[in-house]
Each structure stands twice: as structure tokens, then as C-alpha cells.
């Protein structure tokens, strides 16, 4: 396997993402692992904006910018059409944000997954509606500031991996730009499996998380090492595998680098730590 920087780049220079965008790095890594025999679906989200305005585009593979809530069935329609045409070597990857996955697109993702449509679905989770500013989504973590939760988010983040596991789809995995080789191995593994593959990628957003623009890789690593975002995969909804044994650093180390958590009380930090520990124990029980 080539190092990421050696492989072709299908998210070309000149894209319109904010400086230090974790999502752009994530897409670039996915495209590299997918290779040129790929058709991509993107939906309204930062992916829709960073590609550029006609007639220029940063996307280097055939890409369709579809509507917000339908990344999965759109990709499934393309994948089935390719099968009808006998193009069995071409893979379809759908990108959607957390809003397009956890909220408005959850129904259509569930429908396509129930049918085990042969697509790779990548949720680029920056934990709020970042393309429209910074508004709360059901992927926003507990107590985080957003433009629509000025006193902090009162609700806990939805567990999208468990929702996917409940579909018994062949493959779901979490991935992080802080662990690029693991991320690309997961994409390559997903390519080798027929059916609905789901990749949940945490992508730090310096603009929305209120951090400096050089922190996305570090925060990605810290999210994994604090267990806020463990790296694991689920096969057929039942077989759980941990891909990286975390150092189990205290959550403060991750939270305190971000402006969106600056207002947290000690009690709130303890609660987040409890939630993280509880989730880690739950995954352990499923191994």
C-alpha cells in the first residue's frame, strides 16, 4: 500500500474549504483509497460547498451533487444502474454530513441499508450544521455550544453506529483523519465487500469547534485516545473489533482545546467522562 501522499488526489488543490478543515482531509483520504473507478454522490453540506462554483470543480472523479436527504438512495440508484450496464468494477461512494446522516437523511439511509444496496456511505461528522453556520444536529455532543444552543447542547449525541448495527449490514466502521492508514484500510476493506458499507468519520471543524486552524489532526488523535471516538468496526451487526487500543486520556485534554466547550463546568466534564466510559464499556461487552 502506498503512503497516502503517494496516491492520486481526487480532491484537487483550490477547493473552497476553510483553512485546516478536517472534512476536506477526510474526503481526500477516502478518494485516494477509492481510486479512479469511482462515482461519488455528495449532498448539501460542506462537501457541496467546497467543490467550487461552476465551471470549476475540485472533484476529480465523476461526482453528482444530489439533494440533502438522499445520499444513500441516489448512490444505490447509480450502483444498480452500473450493475445493469455490466460495470461491476465501478464503486459508488456517498458522502453526507452529520445532518444529512443523523437527521434529515436517516430514513433514506435506513431504507437503502435495509435493502443492503451495494454502496459505501461515508458520514463526515463535524458535529453540527456547519455549512449553514453552526447549528445543533443530533450528532452534536453534550453541552457543546452552537449557534442554536447558546447555553450548550442539552442532549447527548445520537449513537449512529448502533443504529447501523441494528440493520445487520455487512460492514460499519469508525474512522479518523488522525489515523489515515487505518482509515484507508477500512475504505479498501469496504470496497471488497458487497452490500451497504458505512464509515463514520469524525472530522474536526476549526470554524465550528472554535479552534485554531492547525488543530484538526491533533484533535482527531485526541478524540480517539480519550475514547470520545473509539476506532472500531462492526461486521454483520454483531462482530465488533477494536482497531486501536486507546490510551484512555481524560476527556479534558480533548475538550479544553475547543472553544465550543470552553464554558463547561466540572460537573459537565465529569458527565461527559461518564458517558464516554459507559460507551466504551458497552462496546467491550459486545466484543
Amino acid at each position: 500500500m502506498l503512503a497516502p501522499e503517494m496516491e492520486p488526489n481526487f480532491l484537487r488543490p483550490g477547493h473552497a474549504a476553510c483553512p485546516g478543515c478536517g472534512l476536506a482531509t477526510g474526503m481526500k483520504l477516502v478518494f485516494q483509497a477509492m481510486g479512479p473507478r469511482t462515482i461519488a454522490v455528495i449532498v448539501p453540506s460542506c462537501e457541496g460547498s467546497i467543490g467550487g462554483v461552476y465551471p470549476i470543480t475540485a472533484y476529480g472523479v465523476s461526482t453528482f451533487h444530489s439533494a440533502f436527504e438522499i445520499a444513500a438512495p441516489t448512490a444505490a440508484g447509480i450502483a444498480n444502474a452500473l450493475k445493469i450496464q455490466g460495470n461491476n468494477d465501478i464503486q459508488v461512494v456517498a458522502f453526507a454530513g452529520d445532518g444529512g446522516t443523523y437527521d434529515i437523511g436517516l430514513q433514506s439511509l435506513s431504507g437503502a441499508t435495509k435493502n443492503n444496496e451495494d454502496i459505501i456511505y461515508v458520514c463526515l461528522d463535524n458535529e453540527a450544521y456547519m455549512n449553514t453556520g453552526i447549528q445543533v444536529s443530533s450528532a452534536t455532543p453534550s453541552f457543546a455550544w452552537t449557534g442554536t444552543t447558546p447555553k450548550g447542547n442539552p442532549r447527548r449525541k445520537k449513537n449512529i453506529m448502533e443504529i447501523m448495527a441494528a440493520h445487520h449490514n455487512p460492514y460499519s466502521a469508525t474512522a479518523s483523519i488522525g489515523f489515515p492508514l487505518d482509515l484507508q484500510q477500512k475504505i479498501k476493506k469496504a470496497k471488497s465487500i458487497r452490500g451497504t458499507k458505512f464509515i463514520h468519520m469524525l472530522v474536526p471543524c476549526p470554524t465550528g469547534w472554535r479552534t485554531s486552524s492547525d488543530l484538526a489532526p491533533e484533535l482527531s488523535i485526541l478524540a480517539v485516545e480519550t475514547n470520545v471516538f473509539p476506532l472500531y468496526e462492526i461486521e454483520n451487526g454483531t462482530k465488533y473489533t477494536i482497531n486501536h487500543q486507546p490510551r484512555r486520556l481524560p476527556v479534558q485534554e480533548y475538550l479544553m482545546k475547543q472553544g465550543r466547550f470552553k464554558h463547561l463546568s466540572e460537573e459537565q466534564i465529569r458527565q461527559i467522562q461518564n458517558e464516554v466510559d459507559e460507551e466504551w464499556n458497552r462496546i467491550q461487552q459486545r466484543l
Binding site: V61, T63, S66, A67, P73, G77, N80, A81
Partner: protein, 383 residues
């Protein structure tokens, strides 16, 4: 081959004859039997292709859009609430200039709930950029599906075939099912010029400037403007091959008519009967059946209705705060007519209520005797 079947079965037969390899659908009364019939043929192998059983009509249209962009022929069927749920994607399909064909079984739209024939569901989608046909019976539904692919694949615009709930969708009549070979000759395989292709990467549906958007919408209008000629030529060729033609509208006994009744959908058959009877009594009533609604056949209507003094449009739909939608459009089409016809508007058959020959007769006689139309449309209510 002739067989007794419902309009919905006729539609399903047409989709199979068109060798449509990708169908995406979701159940809704009274469309469901189309979905079931096609599913059974997919399961038995009689229909070569993939049936996508999506979790909503919105996703069904999304899948059709994805597949059509990849270059395969697609079909879906829906009705009422399902069509309303698809609304966003209808704009998308037309905006992408995709030759998707859909059957919409015209059913009332809630609230309140009900299942019966009413045209408001598809008329609420009139501005989405789809070609729309309203058919009179099961045979016309079947034939129009085949014609629709030919039209859609020439002009790259989606087509909606609208058939009345139950009166067309479920009434069983003897239908003529064309043989496969002449349908194959009539409808060549789809060859979409600009499609998703890994060897020629492109970015479909980018963000564009205001100027680009305006240019794009204008070019869509140019495309739509060409539909009338294409639809007429497809219909002529269909008639020469299969013996049945419909035109984009049909004029019945218009030459000497003192009153022209304008209808759409299944009530046209009722009107044919009523008018034949009135002719026997010496009343000079004519009938105009409007088959194509989008694009609205302005010029064809102006020609067909030239010299007419009294026209009455019977609408099985109502735009609350507006009026009967077919009547509004007809008035617009004739606004510059030097004949200055009196145009009367009647609302009948709303919610699937009966439109009998007596209803048509009552309307025609009222129009014959009235000095001028009322500003408000006249509702036909129960006696």
C-alpha cells in the same frame, strides 16, 4: 393480444414492453397494483432488471434520478401523498433533464383523507418541469407509457402519465397489449449522451451563478417548447404501427358547436356519451379533450377553438383561492383571441364524486342559456 385488465395492469405491461431495467417504487393506494405486478414479473424473471423497493416515494425518485444519470431507463409509479412527498425530487429530475417516466394515479390529496379520483395531486406539480399527460382509459394509459419513453428520450425531460384513481386505475376493460417486437422497433435502447462515466469524469449539478441559472432555465423552456412537435410525431408513428393515436388534444364535433365542453381524464368518456345524446336532440354541443397539459398546448387550443363563442371547462380539481386549474390555463391561452369567447368554469367530480352524463348535460345546457359567465367557478354539488 387482447386481454381483460385494469388500467394499472396496462401500465405495468407497457413498462415491461419498454424493457425498463430499473424500477423504484413504494406502495400507495391506488397505485400499488402497478408496483405489485412489476415486482411479480421481476421475481419470475419476466422483467429483466432490478426492482428497488425503497422506503419512500422521495427515495424512489432519488434512485430513479441516480440510475437515469448513469444512463439506464427508469420507471416509478405513485399517487397523491406520495407524489407530494416526491415534490423536491420532481424539480431535481426535470432540472437534470432526465428521461424518467412515472405513472401517477390521480387521487385526492389530504386533508381530509380519501382515496378517490381528483387531479389536484398532479396539478400541484405543474411547475416542476415535467411533461404531463392526462389519459382517458386503460388503453390510453398503456399506450401513453410507451409513447412517453420515446418523447422523454428525445427531449431529455421527464414524463408523468396521469390516470384517474379507480375509474382508470382499477376498471377492467379489454386492452390490446402490443407484441414485443414492434415495441422494440418503436423504442430503441436508451443512449443518454451525458452520463456518469468514470472514463470521462465530470461534476453534475454544481453550484452555478445567477446568470448560469437563468441561462439554464431558459434552455429548459426551449426544450419544453419542442415537446409539442415531438409528441405529435411520436403519436403519429405510434398510430401507424399500433393503430391507435390520441393527439395532444382531441376535437369532437367542434365545427358547428355552439358550446364546447373541455374535459380531461376519464370524464371525457362520460362527456362523449352525453354529447352524442344531445346531438340526437339537435343541440350543437362539441367536446375538446385535453390530453397534454405540460407543455400547455396553447397554439393547438387556439386553432381548435377558433371561432367558438362559448367554452366551458369542467375541472376535477380546485385551487383554493384561485379556481379550476385547467380553466385558468385555458383562459390564459385564449386571452388574445379575436373571437373573445365566453369561458365558463365548472368544478365537478371533486373528491371522486360522480360525473354522470346528466352532469355534463346540465352544465352544457346552463352554458347554452346563460348570458355570460360568472366570475366565480360554478360548483356541481349533490342534488
Amino acid at each position: 393480444m387482447k386481454d381483460f385488465m385494469s388500467g394499472n395492469d396496462g401500465v405495468a405491461h407497457a413498462v415491461k414492453l419498454c424493457r425498463t431495467p430499473l424500477i423504484a417504487a413504494y406502495p400507495i393506494t391506488p397505485q400499488t397494483s402497478i408496483y405489485e405486478r412489476l415486482s411479480s414479473w421481476e421475481a419470475s424473471g419476466q422483467l429483466k432488471g432490478i426492482m428497488m423497493r425503497t422506503e419512500s416515494e422521495h427515495s424512489a425518485m432519488a434512485s430513479c434520478i441516480g440510475a437515469s444519470l448513469t444512463g439506464v431507463r427508469t420507471f416509478t409509479a405513485t399517487s397523491s401523498q406520495g407524489l407530494a412527498l416526491m415534490h423536491e425530487m420532481l424539480h431535481f429530475a426535470a432540472g437534470c433533464r432526465l428521461p424518467i417516466v412515472m405513472a401517477n394515479v390521480n387521487r385526492i390529496i389530504s386533508a381530509p383523507w380519501g382515496f378517490w379520483a381528483d387531479h389536484l395531486d398532479s396539478l400541484s406539480q405543474r411547475d416542476t418541469g415535467w411533461i404531463q399527460f392526462y389519459v382517458e382509459n386503460g388503453q390510453e394509459a398503456l399506450d401513453t407509457v410507451i409513447q412517453a419513453y420515446r418523447i422523454a428520450e428525445q427531449v431529455y425531460l421527464p414524463v408523468m402519465i396521469c390516470l384517474d384513481a379507480f375509474f382508470v386505475s382499477h376498471f377492467v376493460e379489454p386492452l390490446d397489449i402490443p407484441e414485443q417486437e414492434p415495441v422494440d422497433a418503436f423504442l430503441p435502447p436508451l443512449n443518454l449522451p451525458h452520463r456518469l462515466d468514470v472514463d470521462k469524469p465530470g461534476f453534475l449539478v454544481p453550484v452555478v451563478s445567477s446568470e448560469n441559472y437563468r441561462h439554464y432555465k431558459h434552455s429548459a423552456q426551449m426544450g419544453m417548447n419542442s415537446v409539442k412537435e415531438i409528441a405529435l410525431s411520436v403519436d403519429r408513428e405510434f398510430k401507424s404501427k399500433f393503430g391507435r393515436g390520441y393527439g395532444i388534444l382531441e376535437s369532437i364535433l367542434l365545427d358547428d358547436a355552439d358550446v364546447v365542453v373541455v374535459t380531461t381524464g376519464s370524464m371525457t368518456s362520460t362527456a362523449r356519451l352525453a354529447i352524442a345524446k344531445m346531438r340526437e336532440e339537435g343541440k350543437r354541443i362539441g367536446l375538446l379533450k385535453l390530453r397534454m397539459f405540460r407543455p400547455f398546448p396553447v397554439e393547438a387550443l387556439q386553432i381548435a377553438l377558433a371561432g367558438k363563442k362559448r367554452i366551458v371547462v369542467i375541472d376535477r380539481n380546485f385551487s383554493v383561492g384561485g379556481g379550476g386549474i385547467f380553466c385558468q390555463e385555458l383562459k390564459s391561452a385564449l386571452i388574445h383571441s379575436s373571437d373573445h369567447p365566453l369561458i365558463f368554469s365548472y368544478i365537478a367530480g371533486i373528491g371522486g364524486t360522480d360525473v354522470t352524463p346528466e352532469t355534463i348535460r346540465k352544465i352544457a345546457i346552463e352554458v347554452l342559456e346563460k348570458s355570460e359567465p360568472a366570475d366565480e367557478p360554478q360548483w356541481i354539488m349533490s342534488e
